[in-house]
Every structure is written in structure tokens, then in C-alpha cells.
Amino acid sequence: MARMKFLCDAERCIECNGCVTACKQENDVPWGVNRRRVVTLNDGQPGQRAISVACMHCSDAPCMAVCPVDCFYHTEEGVVLHDKDLCIGCGYCFYACPFGAPQFPQQGAFGVRGKMDKCTFCAGGPEPDGSEAEFRKYGRNRLSEGKLPACAEMCSTKALLGGDGDVIADIYRTRVTMRAARGTKSGPPWGWDTAYAPTQSAAGTSPGPVPAPAPAPASGGKS
């Protein structure tokens, strides 16, 4: 069974915001709502990186756990979706989400929170597939057309990968192995040493064999 995931290759992301534009265009996202955004880390410093962030469709989603009206659900493909007819716009999911994925449209002069809106992995929502109601509430349902999310498919450098977790992990692994084989990249993928302890052994056999350069000091990002 497919388990849909996003993966952003920070070595490739050029901060073009094409994914953001594609998402907004494809789903007709209202003004002020960004289902996807590009975050820059260590801006202006050597080692600057950019990553594209949206809902990560967590396997154990915190938004789902805290929702007081239980409007979230996991699809068979592992996509986290929600029912806007049930959402009360309380914002708990925004506090719970580590990625800041839930967005709230500002309606009216006093910024009243509307119903939550977030990345749907271009899988629509609980309305008939491809219907007008589905598009109006959740955006395009590309998955039902056998397509993948617009942001990933139109990424010019293919930094943002989207699809079955196993498949995109294979693509990324091939990419990292090829980089190491060409010798164009001296260190492991960015963030590798944060996720895994640096290893000195097994050089040339895995994505993380080569010692990483000294990490740049962390600083705030901009979005």
C-alpha cells in the first residue's frame, strides 16, 4: 500500500517558489493562505539552505490527535485530510503541527479565523471526486486522476519529490549515491548529521559515509 510523502532535497532547492505558485494556481488557494512555502535557513550565510514545507502527512498526525471535533482522517494512501464542514476553526491543529501547515483564511475586518485549510497532497477531500464542491473546498483532486501533487511535479530542479514514500526514497537514494560516486559532493546530505550520528566507517557505501563539514550556526529563517 502506498504511503504518500513529500521529500525536499535541500541540495537542489533554489528557492524559486515555483512549488508555492503551482499549489496556489492548481488549487485556487485564497489570498493569504499558503499551503506550501519555502523556508530559508541561515539566510545570507555560507551554507544557506532552502526547503519547501507543507503538510507532511504524518503517520501519527498531531493535528488529528488534538482536533476537538475529529474532522481529520487518514486516507488509504496515508494522506491526512479533513472535513471542512465539520471544522470549527479553533486553531488547535495549528498549535499542534510542528510544520505550521494548517492555515486560516482571514475573513472580515477583524481577522476572524475561517475554517482550516492545508495541503491535501492534491487529493481533494470528502466530497465526490472531481466535483465542483470538492474543488471549491479543497482544491484539485489530482490523485484520483493518477497524478501526483502539482508542487512536486512542476519543481524545476526536482528538489521536491512527492509520491509513495518507498519510491521517492529510492529516487533520493540513487541521487545521493550518484553525487557521492561523481565526487561532486564531499559531505553527506544536508541535515544527515542532525538526524543520524556522524559515521566514519563504510565510506562510499551509503549516503552518510563521508564526514560532514562543520555545521553552520543555526539561525532564524524567513519564509
Binding site: Y73, E77, D85, P126, D129, S144, G146, E153, G163
Partner: protein, 73 residues
């Protein structure tokens, strides 16, 4: 009446140690159960009409478009 003293001691020990157990006292939050409208799987309607295998193949093929090593080599 010889058995009364050991019984009293055993009861006292049992009651006295009853509070010494280390049971988890943190609230176990259970994942909410969905209350909204049902959704259909993406392969349910046209063009796949319930053919999950065909949909899986289409998505897997589509995903490989993101792999430029396969596209160029």
C-alpha cells in the same frame, strides 16, 4: 486463634503496599475517530473505476518522472 496474627500481618502488608505500585498516571490520549463525511479512494471513480492496480501503476510510473537518472539514461 494462632492463624489470626499472621493473617492480620498479611492483610496489613497487602494494604500498606497497595499504593506502592508504579502505574502510569499520564492520561492516554487516543487518536480521535473521524466524525466527518466518508471519502472515496482515489481509484474509485473514472478513469480507474475501482481498478486499484491500474491506479497504483499509474502513480508509480508518474513518480518515476521525478527521477532524472531514469529519464536521461
Amino acid at each position: 486463634m494462632k492463624w489470626l496474627a499472621p493473617l492480620a500481618v498479611a492483610t496489613a502488608v497487602a494494604l500498606g503496599l497497595a499504593a506502592c505500585g508504579e502505574r502510569p498516571q499520564v492520561v492516554q490520549y487516543k487518536q480521535g475517530s473521524y466524525q466527518g463525511k466518508p471519502d472515496t479512494p482515489p481509484y474509485q471513480n473514472s478513469p480507474y473505476n475501482g481498478d486499484k492496480a491500474a491506479w497504483d501503476r499509474a502513480v508509480a510510473t508518474r513518480a518515476q518522472n521525478q527521477n532524472e537518472y531514469k529519464r536521461t539514461n
